[in-house]
Symmetry: C2
Subunit: 300 residues, 2 copies
């Protein structure tokens, strides 16, 4: 029951009012796979340059992440992002985005990945997401992320992806933009009409909800007093969700609910430390403990 994730691996320079880290291991597929690896083995499909060192590789391998699908472009540089957060961690400014080798990323699934039951399409060009789907057996449970950039520029490709998506992950702003509805429940219902079996709307500090035809589930965020670095919170949310689902084996109501709580827990650990430091030593046991706390927050 292992998962394949296709997305970005990057170096992130992150500034917050209290600290700066330079060229830390980041990228959506990195956060996703480290979080999901608390539950099941993960196969990572991404691209890096030859500035991606054995040390970086070792961090991922130590988490049981398979790197067969990690392409290395000789003489190329790894995707680089530099961001700065304000006193309010919801305020983020992108100072530099250098796509580098990621610009021409054409993911190729290793043959052993092609019949995997669980696939997550990170936030990349919908046309590339479609290429990944073409390479899979068609029997998979497909999780998918996107963003306003693609909703705006590749609406047709995205529509095709959504028809083949089981669970779409968007934030509130993306849900509104994709659906044209400001009310988030309406937005979610509109998105379901586009094809996905379910949609998860992430609302940052206000938690997230999962909407499907036959049910709706709310997970409040874990009440953190200090958000150290929210980078990757959404990706690790998706990783925790897909990981918990894959570990449970069956995508249905009860497992979706539990997966939402594990997803929330994963995102909270990410926010508590810089870069992937909050996830690196995370275990399923720690997630179970926090999931118990989260259940206690809402139990009547």
């Amino acid at each position: 029951m292992s998962i394949v994730v296709v997305g970005s691996v990057a170096f992130d320079t992150i500034e917050t009012p209290g600290r700066r880290v330079d060229r830390a291991l980041g990228g959506s597929a990195t956060y996703f796979s480290v979080a999901a690896s608390c539950f099941v083995p993960v196969g990572l499909v991404a691209v890096v340059g030859d500035d991606f060192l054995d040390d970086h590789r070792a961090v991922l391998v130590s988490r049981g992440i398979d790197l067969e699908g990690l392409a290395v472009v000789k003489g190329g540089k790894t995707f680089f992002w530099h961001g700065r957060y304000g006193l309010d961690p919801n305020e983020r400014e992108s100072i530099a985005t250098e796509l580098n080798v990621f610009e021409n990323f054409r993911p190729e699934l290793p043959s052993s990945y092609r019949d995997r039951k669980w696939i997550f399409l990170g936030n990349i060009d919908p046309e590339i997401q479609l290429e990944v789907l073409e390479q899979s057996s068609g029997e998979s449970f497909i999780g998918c992320d996107t963003m306003n950039y693609w909703i705006d520029r590749k609406p047709e490709g995205l529509r095709e992806v959504l028809k083949r998506t089981d669970m779409l992950f968007v934030n509130d702003e993306e849900a509104r933009f994709l659906s044209g509805k400001s009310n988030l429940v309406k937005a979610g219902k509109e998105i379901l009409k586009m094809g996905p079996r379910g949609v998860i709307v992430k609302k940052g500090e206000h938690g997230a909800f999962l909407l499907m035809d036959d049910f709706i589930f709310y997970a409040p965020a874990y009440p953190l007093e200090d958000v150290t670095d929210p980078t990757g919170a959404g990706d690790s949310f998706a990783g925790g969700f897909m990981g918990a689902l894959a570990a449970a084996g069956e995508p249905k109501g009860e497992t979706f609910r539990k997966a939402m709580v594990f997803a929330t827990a994963s995102a909270s650990f990410t926010c508590q430390d810089f870069s992937i430091d909050g996830l690196k030593n995370l275990t399923r046991e720690k997630l179970e403990e926090r999931a118990g706390e989260l259940a206690g927050l809402v139990a009547v």
Copy 2:
């Protein structure tokens, strides 16, 4: 186990993109008492002018609301408010606020109210809230509402009130302004240091949370696709909370949790119709049903 509420009774003219109602019965104490009356009898302490007619009175009396404490100023006019909501119901513009007889409101508790166990201080001048506390036996459970206007202009009076408050009701913006903290959990903890035993932070469509020294509880909002008129949502939230608590008899952990869910349910019914129309025929049974739905939204 009846409740006393002190606050405003008003006429509201409300405009939304779809409809306008003129001089409908409103005011914080009205919403509070109609919601609370689903659970227990309520004594309303407020002031109106002689434009307040028998029909208005009848609406309240039919809900089991005692009007012994409703002062009538002869020749005076009742508090009037005119507001307009945008397409986004979170956007509200005040077009007119005429305090009229409310400007010189000095509430006087009927003698039979003075030893009531449950008192709610609506959003009025903290110095007047203190006068109400002086008139009560001192053995009551005190709920209290306030707003940025009083936090800014009457900080000392408000501090005194908070020392004697059991449960403070504020929205996210007020919590931040009162505490000087932008993180809402930190804000809540800072507010607890000011004296209240508990603080409820209302976040509109994102729900509300209750913070006390020994616990925290989250209640997501009821997922409404259409918000008809959010006027009075916060007041009916408080009414549902205090009503459920008074009906349970004992202010402790489990009853607080249930009261939060009933409060959320009350606010949702308010938002579903204009003015107090969503509350007028509300029963405890309907609230129980919605509370069950709300519990289902978060049950893992």
